[in-house]
Assembly symmetry: C2
């Protein structure tokens, strides 16, 4: 099944990048401000997206899987758009050349069609938002996220 994969480097220690990924408060700083629940292993985190009018346009319920290692996080999508349900999202971190390298993957899409293409582009901009949060203190989470096409 098709996968989205991205790679980004962040000028900050691994522990600081992990903080932005391993708690709902951290995720609210770069993905969507309306993130709540628990990002602990076994916990459920809800990430909701609103349009500029404050109406909900999407909602994901995500389970954090048991950590395979100290530098790897894995989420499973429990609820959301049908294409997302049971997909897996992972962040694998390493230290290279004074940067924290984040290998991102969103795996097991039903097909590599237009919605995956939209989400691939959105993930790239959210990873830039994550970098901005960690390096500069402020990310660009929804609803102030960069709009990339007529879908969002």
């Amino acid at each position: 099944m098709p996968h989205i994969v991205h790679r980004i480097g962040i000028h900050a220690p691994v522990t600081q990048v992990l903080q932005a990924l391993a708690t709902a408060e951290g995720v609210a700083g770069w993905w969507t401000r309306h993130t709540s629940g628990s990002a602990d292993p076994g916990g459920l985190m809800t990430a909701a997206f609103q349009n500029p009018k404050g109406e909900e346009i999407g909602r994901f319920v995500i389970e954090t899987l048991p950590h395979a290692s100290d530098t790897e996080l894995q989420w499973r999508v429990k609820e959301g758009p049908v294409e997302w349900v049971n997909t897996e999202i992972s962040f694998s971190l390493s230290s290279q050349d004074g940067q924290t390298i984040v290998r991102f993957a969103h795996r097991h899409w039903p097909d590599a069609e237009e919605f995956m293409a939209h989400c691939s582009m959105k993930w790239a901009t959210f990873l830039l938002s994550l970098r901005q949060l960690v390096e500069q203190g402020t990310g660009r989470p929804a609803p102030d996220d960069l709009k990339i096409d007529n879908w969002n």
Copy 2:
């Protein structure tokens, strides 16, 4: 084989977006300034990348395939990094909600590993550069492209 797919919307007519994709001069405005040759069907275009010192760090030779339609462009990679050779890059354009929607694909990677992840992230930023070029008149082609990790 794995594919990179992205989707972006540009606030400009389809013909204006095509101009930035269908000539070497256009491509030089958003991908790499050192683009030369012919982007006509059957033609060969060379896109070279330099580091800040002006040393070449990569070079691609790309053949434009016969146009399947007026709103679709397809490239085949003839020379470049081994993972790129014989891959296909395509841009499919449509008009939706007052935007030109670009469906981008880079198909037939040998695997969805780290280099593809790097290139997926880079393509996303080059598509933002394409949008900036078309909407605002100035893109961000290499060597002034956004650096995304320790590889470039």
